[in-house]
């Protein structure tokens, strides 16, 4: 029997500690981990909970992130509730195995503390690692602060293990800004959290000796496509389950989550659409702009995969000009997030102007003033009726102005 962990109604936790408490309350059976900044405390704390008797689980230390996710796959296929955490280069090393986990439909929960990818080496937060996982078949949810990192980690198990989903889930938080900033967090009691997450009901578990199964079958051109299509349908269909779990969580806590969050969007003409901690910055900037008479709003993506195309289109349907913020170097494209939003808006009735900003790489600060400048620029596009700048611009970059691709609608 696990030792009782005393919790206050209000705790002061950083994002890492919040995520690790969610793992404890969810009674995670196995964490297989390899440490990497800035996500290390999540798995380190889980290890200490095991060591100090707060949880009856297994902490397995391995030689790499590739091995960590491989171990998670083994434990999950065996039938356990499994989680781990990683960042950046560790995430990249895990990449091959991420596809194995989703292809085998294993409900692993991965806490990703977003950090830039080298080179040059950098430990600060950007979304390069998150984007690397975007085609991996994992559900990807984004927390904007420590409270959300905790809440979404609890929701993640419930979504992943739902029998109509059975897909692995990543819960993202921004490196350092969320992971290492102590904030007020209101945790659930252990009893409430356990009741909410529930017990895992295994599917095709390898510890069921009455029905031995093969995991990791080989399929060539005559079978592979059907399996991948079935998997794709599962992640597309997970949208309703995610909504249901968020609704149940709201009932329990009063905290409401949506796959697409909208702030000041009732009458907004100009919009910043973003991910992660940038959302809170943009929200402050939008309020400031409204005082100056600009109808500014913020749309935030809670659920990056499956990408909420209809909800994004719905949320932005009355906007005139939209700035999409990509916190990752797109390596010869416009930006993954820009592309998704553009795709969603192309079939909207009024087809608003959409431009993209590459910003915040390697933890470069995204200030309220810069967000306000972007709003003013969007207003200029809206007033002109066409995009007046390059479609792709760089926000917060030193040196001569850099931009690419121009509109043909002007």
């Amino acid at each position: 029997m696990a030792v009782k962990f005393d919790l206050n109604e209000r705790e002061v936790w950083d994002g890492n500690y919040a995520a690790s408490q969610a793992l404890r309350q969810a009674d995670v059976d196995v964490v297989v981990a390899y440490p990497i900044t800035p996500s290390t405390p999540i798995v380190e704390n889980y290890g200490s909970y095991v060591g100090n008797g707060y949880i009856d689980g297994e902490f397995v230390m391995v030689e790499s992130e590739h091995a960590a996710m491989s171990g998670c796959i083994g434990a999950s296929a065996a039938g356990g509730r499994v989680s781990t955490a990683t960042s950046s280069q560790g995430f990249a090393l895990m990449a091959e195995v991420l596809y194995q986990a989703s292809g085998m439909r294993l409900p692993i929960v991965l806490n990703v503390v977003n950090r830039a990818l080298a080179s040059p080496l950098n430990v600060r937060g950007d979304h390069a690692d998150m984007y690397l996982g975007r085609d991996s078949g994992w559900i990807q949810m984004g927390a904007f602060n420590a409270q959300e990192a905790y809440d979404l980690a609890l929701c993640a198990f419930k979504i992943a293990e739902n029998h109509s989903v059975r897909l692995p889930v990543m819960v993202h938080q921004d490196g350092f800004i969320t992971s290492h900033t102590a904030q007020n967090v209101y945790p659930l009691t252990d009893a409430k959290a356990k009741a909410f997450v529930g017990e895992i009901v295994p599917v095709d578990d390898m510890l069921d000796f009455s029905r031995p199964v093969t995991y990791g079958a080989q399929t060539e051109e005559d079978w592979h496509f059907e399996h991948k299509a079935k998997q794709h349908k599962a992640i597309m269909d997970s949208r309703t389950v995610i909504d249901d779990v968020y609704a149940e969580f709201k009932e329990l806590t009063g905290r409401e989550y949506k796959r697409v969050e909208s702030y000041d969007m009732e009458d907004a003409d100009v919009v910043i659409i973003g991910l992660g901690t940038t959302v809170e910055t943009a929200r402050v900037a939008a309020k400031n702009m409204r005082e100056k008479g600009v109808k500014a709003g913020v749309v935030a993506i809670r659920c990056f995969r499956p990408f909420p195309y209809d909800e994004v289109r719905e949320a932005l349907s009355n906007a005139k000009s939209i700035a999409v913020t990509d916190r990752s170097s797109p390596g010869g494209a416009m930006g993954a997030f820009f592309n998704e939003v553009s795709a969603a808006m192309y079939t909207s009735k009024n087809r608003p102007l959409v431009t993209g900003f590459i910003y915040g790489l390697g933890g470069r600060d995204f200030s309220i003033e810069e967000a306000e400048r972007i709003y003013a620029e969007q207003q200029a596009h809206a007033d002109a009726g066409h995009i007046t700048t390059d479609i792709q611009q760089f926000s917060g970059l030193r040196g001569p102005k850099l931009g690419f691709f121009q509109t043909a609608r002007g």
């Binding site: 294993l106 031995p212 199964v213 079958a217 496509f225 079935k230 998997q231």
Partner: protein, 160 residues
Amino acid sequence: MAVESQELNLLANNNRGESQLEAGFDLLGWDEVTQGSVLPSFDGDATGIANKKAEERAYSGFNSYTASVASWRVIKPVFNRDICIDCQNCWVWCPDSSILSRDKQMLGIDYDHCKGCEVCVEVCPTNPKSLLMFSEYADLDESLAAWPEKKKKEKKSKEV
């Protein structure tokens, strides 16, 4: 299969190697394939299956036991009962579980699964060897008739 004079279905379930991988199965749609391409090894309840002999197990159609995966073999091991000392070395080392052995007595080769890797021949300690590689199309009796004689040990030069 070229090997004719040896009992081919030795210790075999009646569905061993019944399907050819190249022959194709009923091709199912995306809505019919198994979740996560997870495949059950046996039909029905498999409790205690480890204690059952191969020929008593209900191998499922997904189990490679029921498929012949030997079509790309170009040379095959031939087993010579008269020389074998039942040391079980080949059974231990065979990477495809294709050495048929029962009660520690070597009985033959599962030609539905043997890939012709020659490991069994390599580890066979007898003189001459009790397993030798022949062309896939070599006749078994002719192969046994062509078995080499015992090799004489070369005399060591006297120590000075």
